[in-house]
């Protein structure tokens, strides 16, 4: 209803639209979903991984320490190749869902996520954390995220189970109360170097890896090519 803050719901929707535009260009799978009553919406993405880094061989993959290969790529192979290289059973495939919603209480985006086996059994937070731990560790070691790293580690411990505000199903959530804290230096810095950023891109590139969600670098480049600012 009210938008006297920097990051109101309309601003959120604008950044999401820009983000999704780029996602569509590179086939990254993000899409926008409206609530049934059409009063608001959210971004979502689903991907599949094989439990515990059973690597599926796939032509064209560099495979540098990539312990979690997307299953969809494997599934695109002709069935003969697939049977030869695939060793994981169907029960080992995990479906991850990521939803980005807007919190009007904190006036920031919030990341909701859940994971389940293909037969519908949900993963617990402990299971998920074990799964993403490898990917995250690698990412942490790579990052230039010195000051932010500590905050991420704290932030990561704040995740727990909540009800999805639109779907009403249980999802894990990265609690939004600290978002402003770690986003403020990012925003200040972008103002200093006079470069417009997409809030969603920056935010998701920080919190995503904590739960197994990585953003290709092209998102950042796409933002700096955007003309004009949010009105």
């Amino acid at each position: 209803m009210e938008e006297d803050e920097f990051f109101g719901e309309k601003t959120f929707q604008h950044y999401c639209a820009e983000f999704i535009k780029h996602s569509q260009q590179i086939g990254d799978g993000w899409e926008w979903r409206m609530s049934k009553d059409c009063s608001d919406g959210y971004m979502c993405k689903t991907h599949f991984k094989i439990k515990n880094g059973t690597v599926v061989s796939h032509p064209g993959t560099s495979g540098h320490g990539q312990t979690c290969l997307p299953l969809e790529e494997a599934l695109e192979l002709p069935s003969d190749d697939f049977e030869v290289t695939e060793t994981a059973a169907a029960s080992e495939v995990i479906k991850y869902e990521y939803h980005v919603l807007y919190s009007c209480s904190y006036q920031v985006p919030v990341l909701y996520f859940r994971a389940s086996f293909l037969d519908g059994r949900p993963l617990t937070l402990k299971d998920i954390w074990e799964e993403v731990h490898e990917c995250y560790k690698t990412r942490l070691l790579q990052g230039p995220w010195d000051t932010i790293t500590q905050q991420i580690v704290f932030f990561a411990s704040q995740k727990f189970l909540m009800e999805h505000p639109i779907l009403g199903q249980p999802f894990f959530v990265l609690h939004p109360c600290k978002t402003n804290e770690f986003m403020t230096p990012v925003l200040k810095n972008s103002q200093k170097i006079n470069r417009s950023i997409n809030y969603i891109t920056s935010w998701l590139s920080i919190v995503g890896p904590v739960v197994g969600l990585n953003l290709p670098l092209s998102y950042a480049k796409a933002t700096s090519q955007d003309e004009g600012n949010v009105d």
């Binding site: 009210e2 904190y106 727990f160 639109i166 249980p170 109360c177």
Partner: protein, 197 residues
């Protein structure tokens, strides 16, 4: 999902006589539909998360963030052990607002209806209008859930219930927030069909 028991009663069983008879299951946990609640700490974390969100709305988190860890603990322990004075000693600070204001920044509320997929409606809503008039419960409903209230001459189709009673729609929202909130500092409002009797 960790809803207050009074809210569950209003929403799902308000026509039942008290005491409310419920069935507790100890076998056949529906693994596909529900996630296990691993410990009591999770309930505490959820409760504190609601408190923090309520204060984010009321005071931009300033009051709750100024409190010490032991104050947060006292809120939870007071609730857990049914010690109202212990709870209220801290919670009353969350019910204050600056002298120059007429109320909180925004009112923490959630509106529940069993007929919608969305679990609840929660939006930003100020307790005081630009002209200084206090917003009422009716004002809130008109703005965020207009289907809940009947048109002027129309038949009353719904009950608007908080803590098992129907407050008058003219009640100022600020007053409701200070006096009729649940322990988590939210107004949990149920919209249920008018019983036909």
């Amino acid at each position: 999902m960790h809803y207050p028991i009074g809210l569950l009663f209003d929403l799902l069983a308000s026509s039942s006589a008290l005491p409310w008879n419920i069935t507790v299951h100890f076998k056949s946990f529906p693994e596909k539909d529900l996630l296990h609640c691993p410990s009591k700490d999770v309930i505490e974390a959820h409760f504190m998360s609601c408190m923090k969100e309520a204060d984010a709305l009321k005071h931009k988190s300033q009051v709750i963030n100024e409190m010490q860890k032991k104050d947060h603990k006292q809120l939870w322990m007071g609730l857990q052990n049914d010690r109202f004075d212990q709870f209220w000693a801290i919670n009353r600070k969350l019910m204050e607002y600056p002298a120059e204001e007429n109320g909180f920044r925004y009112i923490p509320f959630r509106i529940y209806q069993t007929t919608t997929e969305r679990p609840f409606i929660q939006k930003l809503f100020r307790p005081v209008a630009a002209d200084g008039q206090l917003h009422t419960l009716g004002d809130l409903l008109k703005e965020v859930c207009p289907s809940a209230i009947a048109p002027e001459d129309g038949e009353k189709k719904n009950q608007v219930m908080i803590h098992g009673i129907e407050p008058m729609l003219e009640t100022p929202l600020q007053w409701l927030s200070e006096h009729l909130s649940y322990p988590d500092n939210f107004l949990h409002i149920s919209i249920i069909p008018q019983p036909t009797d």
